[in-house]
């Protein structure tokens, strides 16, 4: 069988096997993922320079074909890699949880479907696999804490809505231009209304998958109920990879986004609003997973902003940020999962002082947190830097909005750092609550994946040329100028040097000789115990009291910006109106008709049982309508 077909079938078979056997279920899915990774590496190498394609069938002139080029090879590799790491973590983490059986099956099904999306040669095939991921989403979100089924339904409806929008967009474009190849020979200009509508509808699907505002609300909700490995798999890595993959394909290969300024500005506004809105929400969260999930939304903003610039370096930055984000966000969710598993909670208030107990987890969390905050020389900095450069390049085109985008993006970065300071303080530093006294480092399978991811954060930052030359640049059909004046290796050396000097100063200077005294407030000695423990939740409460913002946050917390609430609210309102108002009016109308019937036939009066004349009256009215419409024209 062709490698492509195997890439679809092997994970599926492994998943089914893992589901149907009772023992060794984790091992089966893990082996399946390893095999998938092996195939991904093979495809990646094969497709680096020349694309490989394989036609399965042809339906009514539409080729059902699979194909890999440099970009899909790159992302296939990422998807399989993350699946392997997350499954490794889950070997222990998911072991005793309810729903573990479904988890391993759906992870593998997700892998198979993602491979399908990435290998699809045209939009129809892509849509087929893309839609199938809905099942995976629902199935993965089902197990978890109380209320998880509501969250799963919410995710299903929101992502389902965007999937149907995407289907509409794809058919719209297809009817006008034919079944569009994922990589046509030349991108189409975005000028005709059909092309623009199609682009927007398909992009809506891609953005909802990636988790951009306003279609983000299921991600924070999922964080409250879903296990950490699900969060690391779906919103942190898989959905970002697929969503941004499609957005890039759409904006670079299929359509030419540079040809329409309005669409670029729209995308950039979406990006900036996502960055800022989500990071503000993140600042005031009280639970680790939820805080991280708002960052998973916020970071999408950078990718959308980068692609929206339409400038080569910006697009490359967006794509690179996608990779980086998956790396550090998966790392963050996984390390937070270890903490949660041992601490039995992810409430920030109830954690603290774990750095000594879980040093490896602490270090990998710290590195990933610095990376997401964009601290040089880590990978998050490099990709954000490229996005900024793209935004700055806009000035050359005379885009008057670029300072707004730039300032907002940088502000978002600062706020990200701020919220992670809070998180690191309250999880790992500060005083340790008594309940956590026996916490210890998680086992090998649980600390290895975060460590690998943290190492990748460093490597991709310090030696940024490796992933850029190896993965990102070959994926794009244009030449990307080298990134500005940033020399990652040199800068790292300088930073290390300055840190070293700082350390020397610390070691030999006066700073080391500190005096520790007991806390003394208002004439009373305060004991170093549970009651006086300082937690991190209140770090940014002032944000809640800023004018205007406080109102917005309040509404945000209540779900006022949640598109799902709008939808279900509208449906409920319509249902209520139709039941209370329309039904009553109709009943009143038909009751008079019923009275006529009652008078007309005595025989009928025996069978008056409430609503039958109503039904009959409807039939007669319908029949009259038919007659009027057809016969008496």
């Amino acid at each position: 069988m062709h490698t492509f077909v195997l890439m679809l079938l092997v994970p599926l078979a492994a998943g089914l096997l893992a589901y149907s056997v009772n023992r060794l279920r984790n091992e089966f899915s893990f082996i399946g993922a390893i095999v998938a990774l092996y195939y991904a590496v093979r495809v990646f190498i094969q497709s680096r320079h020349a694309e490989v394609s394989y036609e399965l069938a042809r339906v009514a002139g539409i080729p059902v074909a699979l194909r890999a080029d440099a970009m899909s090879g790159f992302i296939l590799l990422c998807v399989a890699g993350f699946a392997v790491l997350i499954l490794l973590f889950s070997l222990r983490y998911m072991r005793d949880r309810e729903g573990a059986r479904g988890f391993f099956f759906f992870v593998m099904l997700g892998l198979a479907c993602s491979n399908g999306v990435l290998l699809a040669a045209n939009l129809l095939v892509m849509l087929f696999f893309w839609g199938a991921l809905l099942v995976v989403l629902y199935g993965l979100l089902l197990p978890g804490r109380e209320g998880s089924e509501k969250v799963a339904a919410k995710a299903l409806v929101i992502v389902g809505l965007s999937d149907f929008a995407m289907m509409l967009g794809i058919v719209l474009v297809a009817v006008r231009y034919g079944w569009i190849d994922m990589v046509p020979s030349a991108p189409m200009p975005l000028q005709e209304p059909v092309a623009i509508a199609g682009y927007l509808l398909i992009a809506a699907g891609a953005l909802a998958k990636a988790g951009s505002m306003p279609l983000h609300s299921w991600i924070p909700a999922a964080a409250e109920t879903a296990p950490a490995s699900v969060m690391a798999y779906i919103p942190a890595s898989l959905d970002k990879l697929l969503g941004i993959y499609l957005l890039t394909r759409l904006s670079v290969n299929i359509f030419d986004i540079t040809s329409n300024l309005a669409i670029r500005n729209t995308l950039m506004v979406v990006g900036v609003v996502t960055i800022l809105g989500a990071v503000m929400m993140a600042l005031v969260q009280k639970r680790i997973m939820k805080l991280l999930s708002f960052h998973a939304v916020s970071q999408v903003g950078y990718m959308v902003l980068g692609i929206g610039t339409g400038i080569p370096v910006g697009i490359a930055g967006g794509l690179f940020h996608m990779l980086n984000h998956s790396v550090y966000k998966a790392g963050l969710f996984l390390s937070a999962g270890s903490v949660e598993m041992w601490g039995k909670t992810d409430e920030i208030d109830e954690l603290g002082g774990l750095a000594g107990r879980m040093p490896v987890t602490f270090l990998s969390f710290l590195i990933a947190a610095m990376a997401i905050a964009g601290v040089p020389p880590l990978n998050g900095f490099v990709s954000k830097w490229m996005v900024y450069q793209g935004v700055i390049e806009l000035a050359r085109e005379g885009n008057k909005l670029y300072p707004v985008f730039l300032v907002a993006a940088m502000l978002g970065s600062v706020l990200t750092l701020a919220s992670f300071l809070k998180l690191i303080h309250s999880m790992f530093l500060g005083q340790r609550p008594a309940a956590l006294a026996r916490t210890r480092e998680a086992g090998f399978a649980m600390w290895l994946p975060p460590v690998v991811l943290a190492a990748v954060c460093i490597i991709f930052g310090v030696f940024a040329q490796i992933p850029l030359q190896g993965f990102v640049y070959p994926s794009l059909p244009f030449f990307v100028e080298p990134i500005g004046t940033w020399q990652p290796v040199l800068a790292t050396l300088l930073m290390l040097a300055s840190l070293g000097i700082g350390l020397l100063v610390y070691l030999f200077g006066t700073a080391r000789r500190t005096t520790a005294v007991r806390t003394f407030v208002g004439g009373e000695m305060i004991a170093d115990d549970e009651e006086s423990r300082v937690t991190g939740t209140a770090f940014y409460t002032p944000v809640k009291h800023l004018p205007i913002l406080d109102e917005l946050l309040k509404y945000g917390e209540r779900g006022a910006f949640d598109i799902y609430n709008w939808l279900t609210g509208a449906l409920r309102a319509i249902g209520l109106i139709s039941r209370q108002v329309v039904d009553r009016v109709l009943t009143a109308l038909f009751e008079s008709a019923g009275a006529v019937v009652r008078l007309a036939g005595r025989g009928l009066s025996y069978i008056q049982n409430g609503s039958l004349p109503l039904y009959a009256a409807w039939v007669f009215i319908g029949a009259t309508m038919f007659l009027l419409l057809l016969a008496l024209r």
Binding site: E149, L156, V157, L168, L627, R633
Partner: protein, 501 residues
């Protein structure tokens, strides 16, 4: 190709409908055996019939008694018939299998099977017949037995629902009969092929439209198009679950959609080119059905009632597909007949399974059944994803083709509506999944257990077919649905095949 198998679709269930009571006198459980054997034979026969059309012949004609068409009754078996017969008998087989254990609740097992067989007689008869009056007779056979089966539980609600259904249904029957009478007065024959040739020379007079309107009223009642739908949300939930599956899955489509499209397209020769008004009317009422059915479904608290409203909404999809009137629209509509038959049949079976296990259909009282009944829960979920139009299930392709049809015909708003209400469909179907299966409230229903093996097999059978139809949509579209759409699109050309010209 030999057409001798065609009358068997009527003869076998008709004979068994009368044999079942006889044998049941001797041995109670023989009813189960005979009914399921007949179901299996019919399903096999319908597969055989569909395969026999693959070899290239367009239509198989069987003349009863060897009489010439204008005098005798003709049975015709073309791709459209094959498609509908396939849906009827496969859903029928699964429902019969399900009934074996489900009927433990009821008395009068053989009465159930005899009536069920009569419904199959009616549905198969309507599908294969080439004669107008024959169509009416079979319609009534199916309808009358379904009235009885809706009231089968003989509780107050069931009797009331059955009664209302009967009254409304017979208004429809009367409308069809009136239309046939008018047609006979005009054409002096009731053989469809001959009538269609007469109609070709018949102007579009008010009388013509009166006949069309009367037929449409009758079929609209049978298919539960809004505003003719009012009987359905009472009738379908009241019936025993296997009957609900058959009624919602295929009954409304054969008596309503299939009969209407056969008469309108092939006998009256209506097409978008020559009768745009009629097609716009289908779209208008289709949209009304989608919207009203979908919104009302969202407001329901009864498992089966919600599914019943959903059927109304899905009939709307079939109607807009037909109303779009181009190749892809009709392919979408016909594919949806298959997809919805499998999907809704499956969902009603899961409802039966839940009712069997817990004794209630009230979504407020059900919860957390997934732990106890995983097969039912996941069959429900995947079936509902299919109905909502999520790949890789069958429902995806029907919605997809309908949207392709709508956009090819530049009906943008229709495509948007179809996509939007797919989300609504998803919303209300998942509501059931959440409430009944996946919610973990404290009140666990006591002693709920997974359905017996035969019931699970019936559900899984439909589920597997849903997936097969989705993944293997290509041969189905190429060999069956596409040619069936062409049968409708050829309009009056239908007569030539039947009369052998």
């Amino acid at each position: 190709m030999d057409a001798r198998f065609v009358p068997l679709f009527v003869i076998i269930p008709l004979a068994s409908a009368f044999l079942i009571p006889l044998f049941a006198k001797l041995w109670q459980r023989s009813a189960d055996l005979i009914a399921n054997a007949v179901g299996a034979v019919l399903a096999g026969l319908s597969v055989y019939g569909a395969l026999s059309l693959f070899t290239g012949s367009q239509v198989l004609v069987y003349r009863l008694g060897g009489w010439h068409p204008s005098l005798g009754i003709t049975l015709a078996y073309d791709h459209l018939t094959a498609l509908v017969v396939l849906a009827v008998n496969i859903v029928g087989l699964c429902a019969l299998l399900f009934a074996v254990r489900y009927l433990d609740h009821y008395t009068g097992r053989w009465k159930f099977y005899a009536l069920f067989m009569l419904i199959l007689v009616g549905l198969n008869g309507v599908s294969v017949t080439g004669d107008m009056f024959n169509l009416f007779v079979f319609t009534e056979i199916a309808a009358v037995s379904s009235y009885a089966l809706v009231a089968f539980g003989t509780d107050f609600d069931e009797l009331e629902a059955g009664f209302k259904y009967m009254v409304i249904g017979e208004i429809g029957g009367a409308a069809i009969l009136l239309a046939i009478a008018l047609l006979y007065a005009k054409a002096s024959t009731l053989n469809m092929a001959v009538v269609s040739q007469v109609m070709a020379g018949f102007g579009r007079t008010p009388l013509f439209w009166l006949i069309v309107a009367m037929f449409l009223v009758g079929f609209a009642i049978k298919m539960a198009m809004v505003p003719f739908h009012a009987w359905l949300p009472d009738a379908h939930p009241s019936a025993p679950a296997p009957v609900s599956a058959l009624l919602s899955g295929v009954f409304i489509k054969v008596l309503g959609v299939y009969a209407m499209s056969r008469v309108m397209f092939n006998v009256f020769g209506l097409s978008r080119a020559n009768a745009a008004g009629f097609f716009n009317l289908l779209i208008g009422f289709g949209v009304l059905s989608i919207v009203a059915g979908g919104l009302l479904a969202y407001a329901q608290k009864d498992y089966k009632r919600l599914l019943a409203y959903s059927s109304i909404s899905q009939i709307g999809y079939i109607l807009i597909g037909l109303g779009i009137g181009n190749y892809w629209g009709i392919v979408g509509a016909l594919f949806h007949i298959l997809a919805h038959a499998l999907g809704k049949g499956l969902l009603f079976l899961t409802a039966g399974s839940v009712e069997h296990a817990t004794g209630t259909r009230d979504l407020d009282r059900l919860s957390g059944l997934e732990k106890r009944m995983p097969a039912t829960a996941w069959s429900y979920l995947l079936g509902s994803l299919s109905l909502a139009g999520v790949p890789p299930f069958a429902g995806f392709f029907s919605k997809f083709f309908i949207i392709v049809g709508a956009l090819s015909a530049d009906m943008y708003w229709l495509a948007i509506l179809a996509a939007l209400f797919s989300t609504v469909t998803l919303g209300y179907l998942v509501k059931v999944a959440n409430r009944a299966f996946f919610a973990r409230r404290d009140r666990e229903p006591t002693a709920a257990r997974e359905a017996p093996a035969v019931m699970v097999v019936a559900m899984l059978g439909l589920l597997v077919l849903t997936i097969v139809l989705g993944v293997g949509f290509k041969p189905v579209v190429d060999r069956l649905v596409g040619p069936a759409a062409n049968v409708l699109l050829q309009g009056l050309g239908y007569a030539q095949g039947i009369l052998g010209m």
